[in-house]
Symmetry: C2
Subunit: 333 residues, 2 copies
């Protein structure tokens, strides 16, 4: 399999670093595996004979690489003569999904498998993209889009095959969980906790996407569509952020052994809102951790806890990539 | 695929009840799926044309079923002309693994796939059984042996394919976790908490297997062998139970925001012992819940929480069974 990496930001670079240590594992599954290209927003590098992953992991910008074609567009490389699988890791854009949406549509329509941690395209066009994938017998895997390194989609697909999921709820945004945890443990105000999160690089300068629950709502949409066969859009999620959560409310809750957490829920309704969670409940995790609570007909309740963002997300991308390789190597034999 | 169920105790009966509701799902994967036989310690029923699962789920003892062959032995049915897959759910016996060990050896050596929630054979003969399975191109799946409904083995196999597991730790026994939780929340003594657990049917009359950490040690052995390629035996596990945990120790810990939990650890050493766990750590779950904390090179830390015993274990058995059906239906096409 020939891999094209689109997007050379944080995740793209972390993926290349991880691939360095895992290339032998990947070649055990598919001895022809290689990285043939990498693209950023301004150009690309491509070598049909395979790029040297060690070299690629040593650079900070693609333009530093020998043979960088400035002005070239990723779409030129999304061609089945050039690659069989892409990792689409351009920045998330939930307005129009671009440029990821175009890349993913193009790849799937040309029979190229897609692995992506990019939420935008999945939030805006879940059903369209899964249909194109199905029509073209392609894999479209997106484990990294929700709750980072927590393998919720592959878990449901491979580990709970006989169960019916009845309800999902979770802490799906690490930034807001960090802020609420600081308010809970340090008894700081929302404003101070937010400022601290911004100083640490946990919250953006414009924190709206996180603190108003937009990011969590995106994840609710993907979870609902992928695991509960809904056809949800972002507008279907009733959404309240954490700006209104006061130190007083948190203190009162704490005295009664509850914490206030921003919870995404997929039930009859889709919702993101601050909720009281008993401090002894498995969902009640702190700091930047994410947690997903699954209610099922047979297994009862299972909770998964892990890192919701950061370099750990590469675990999800790599697992998806290996899934593509394994499925294809089976078909070959 | 033709399924033979061996053991008609709690799990065997719960499996049959679950199969009733899932038969359509199973036939979508393998249209020839049927339950051809069921055996208990005193006899069996068998019908090459398939047993009626509705009828089977309505009885309490196999001997109530029409055509019950008293005196017949399960081994007579473990024959590839009669079945392709067995669910081995006889009672756990960690002294000599019997009768499960004989059933599993026989099945695998005859090319019959094995799904089992029976710890004994896996604890005593892990490497032997996995070798026979490999030699005969058979599946040997045992998700139900550790932490009940928590799908730890399929998670590692299917969802964390690029990760290397560095360390595992967990609350692997629900009975002791119930006792320690009562001591933590209700400030009762060990003796009272144990008695209460016995009255509720959570602890056995002879509680030694649970409270002395033997059950948790069995799970440590299986986890170490399955997920970290060890060749561990039960004697390799350093083991301390919870009889020595006093109410005073728990109260002191609690004041410092710790709970005392019986933790199984797979690191360089294999260990089961009471440990201090910060009450805000994801592993710190209460009641009969189990939890497993996995440390990996890419995903960092993931914690899974769920029911460690009871009818929820059927979820694990059914997932294994579906895995067998899916793998075979792929080979057919």
């Amino acid at each position: 399999m020939r891999l094209l990496i689109i997007g050379f930001g944080f995740i793209g670079k972390e993926l290349v670093k991880a691939l360095r240590g895992k290339i032998r594992l990947l070649r055990e599954i598919d001895r022809d595996f290689m990285v043939v290209g990498a693209a950023d927003s301004k150009g690309y590098i491509f070598d049909a004979g395979g790029l040297d992953v060690d070299g690629l992991s040593a650079i900070n910008r693609l333009s530093e690489h020998q043979g960088y074609r400035a002005g070239g567009s990723a779409s030129e490389l999304i061609n089945e003569d050039l690659c069989n699988v892409i990792v689409e890791a351009t920045p998330t854009n939930i307005k129009d999904g671009e440029p990821g949406l175009t890349h993913i549509r193009l790849a799937l329509s040309r029979g190229i498998h897609v692995v992506t941690p990019n939420k935008g395209p999945l939030v805006l066009a879940f059903r369209e993209l899964t249909s194109i994938a199905e029509r073209n017998s392609c894999d479209l895997l997106y484990e990294g889009t929700v709750a980072g390194a927590i393998p919720i989609f592959s878990l449901a697909r491979e580990c709970l095959r006989g169960d019916k999921i009845i309800r999902l709820s979770g802490i799906l945004n690490g930034t807001t969980n960090y802020i609420l945890s600081r308010m809970f443990f340090e008894e700081t105000s929302f404003d101070i906790a937010l400022k601290e999160a911004q100083e640490k690089g946990i919250a953006e300068r414009d924190p709206s996407y996180d603190v108003d629950g937009v990011d969590a709502a995106c994840k609710v949409v993907i979870l609902a569509n992928a695991l509960m066969k809904r056809n949800a859009k972002i507008g279907d999620v009733e959404r309240v952020g954490i700006r209104g959560v006061t130190q007083e409310a948190i203190s009162l809750a704490k005295k009664a052994n509850y914490a206030i957490k921003l919870i995404g829920t997929i039930d009859r309704r889709l919702e993101v809102a601050p909720k009281l969670v008993p401090i002894n409940h498995p969902l009640c995790v702190h700091g930047t951790l994410n947690a997903i609570h699954i209610e099922m007909d047979l297994a009862g309740e299972i909770t998964l806890v892990g890192y919701g963002a950061g370099k750990e997300t590469v675990s999800a991308v790599l697992n998806d990539l290996i899934t593509v390789l394994k499925r294809r190597s089976k078909q070959k034999h």
